[in-house]
């Protein structure tokens, strides 16, 4: 934010009180996805149309003739949120409406797996939309199965001994699409998230924001730990907060590098991890950040 030509950091007091999403939503307790939605809407504002594929978030967003959204909201088919957003943008352009954010907001499956084709298509066309992945690292709406965003060794409902392969790096994949704005975010850092949504909204072209959004059921954590768990992910270096503007990467928060075990071992889904597996993950984090070893 700029005040009198000088760059001033946004504070929570700068965000509007009004909730364009949230009140009455049917989410589980402590739903990370719902927290992400509320935080993002504080920045996106009322001139926003949101499309959302089959997912927890689409389910908790409405029932029959009631919805928790105060902006135009459309619960789409599972694979098509970015494609319908492209269509909406084209229609708005045809109508001469220029001041509207068109956002497709999908879970990790609706983004990285079944929704990947339409996401990649919209990104390659550089359509003027924002795609948001709220990532709970599982298919929670269908009971918590593994997907490409499930991290290695995490236990899921269909891989009870833990996932064998690692998490597909969607941020790198989206950067490879050569789009103007790509960022990671999470719910424990709402101002960081807010700044990123501001930039994405201002960017004329395709933007991608990937939000780590813990889920107490899938991750097997207490209901009051979604935000705390996200914070541990960030501070351990497990989830890096950064943005890539026109190909240039900037880290937006320097982690304090708490041991990654503090993040992992506070979650039931990692309770079976061996010391070697924890070390393997710690080594991967260290090497990512170019560090010798954790404190």
């Amino acid at each position: 934010m700029r005040k009198g030509g000088e760059l001033v950091k946004m504070t929570l007091k700068d965000l509007p009180q009004q909730d364009l999403f949230g009140p009455g939503n049917a989410g589980c307790r402590g739903c990370g996805a719902a927290i992400a939605g509320r935080q993002a809407m504080k920045v996106l504002g009322a001139r926003t149309i949101i499309t959302m594929p089959a997912s927890c978030m689409a389910t908790l967003s409405g029932l029959n003739q009631k919805t928790a959204w105060s902006i135009p909201f459309y619960h789409t088919l599972f694979e098509i949120a970015p494609a319908v957003s492209s269509g909406i943008r084209a229609s708005l352009e045809a109508q001469g409406i220029k001041d509207v954010n068109v956002v497709s907001w999908a879970g990790d499956a609706g983004t990285a797996d079944i929704g990947f084709q339409s996401l990649s298509g919209a990104a390659e066309r550089n359509d003027n939309i924002i795609h948001v992945c709220y990532d709970n690292e599982m298919y929670m709406n269908t009971g918590g199965q593994s997907g490409s965003q499930t991290p290695i060794y995490a236990m899921t409902s269909n891989q009870q001994k833990g996932k064998r392969t690692g998490k597909k790096d969607m941020l790198k994949i989206m950067v490879a699409h050569d789009v103007g704005y790509v960022a990671s975010a999470t719910i424990s850092h709402p101002l960081d998230l807010a700044e990123k949504f501001k930039k994405a909204a201002a960017h004329d072209g395709f933007s991608y924001i990937h939000i780590m959004a813990p889920c107490y059921r899938g991750w097997n954590i207490p209901t009051d730990q979604s935000v705390a768990t996200a914070r541990k992910a960030v501070e351990s270096g497990f989830w890096e907060l950064y943005e890539v503007v026109d190909g240039k990467k900037t880290r937006t928060h320097e982690p304090s590098f708490i041991p990654v075990s503090e993040y992992l071992m506070s979650q039931g889904r990692f309770k079976n991890l061996s010391t070697e597996q924890v070390k393997e993950i710690q080594d991967a984090v260290n090497s990512h950040f170019g560090r010798k070893e954790a404190k």
Binding site: A26, G27, I35
Partner: protein
């Protein structure tokens, strides 16, 4: 007779707040104490939008809160206490305020 419905299956904007579901199964709710300094963090972390700044004070809407406890855990001042909804050893929920 088929019910009268909109042509496009649709819902009234913001209408879920009129009949929130969370309170049906809430087990505890926050009580905001004097230590609150209106830093607003709890408001940002509430999944339900149940916390609001009202007349300079953070207030909780018990219509919306589903009792996750995130606000209490995150409060930097430790100003929020979670209070159980039920009483007795088998946990009896009050159906309406004051009745059980």
């Amino acid at each position: 007779m088929a019910k009268k419905l909109p042509i496009v299956p649709s819902a009234k904007a913001g209408s879920m707040a009129e009949a929130p579901s969370g309170i049906i199964w809430r087990e505890q709710h926050p009580v905001i104490g004097d230590k609150c300094n209106q830093c607003l963090e709890c408001i940002m972390f509430c999944p339900e939008g149940a916390l609001k700044l009202e007349n300079g004070k953070v207030a909780v809407s018990l219509e919306l809160c589903n009792g996750c406890g995130t606000c209490a855990f995150e409060c930097p001042q430790k100003a929020i206490t979670m209070v159980l909804e039920f009483s007795g050893d088998r946990g009896i929920f009050p159906l309406k305020e004051g009745k059980s």
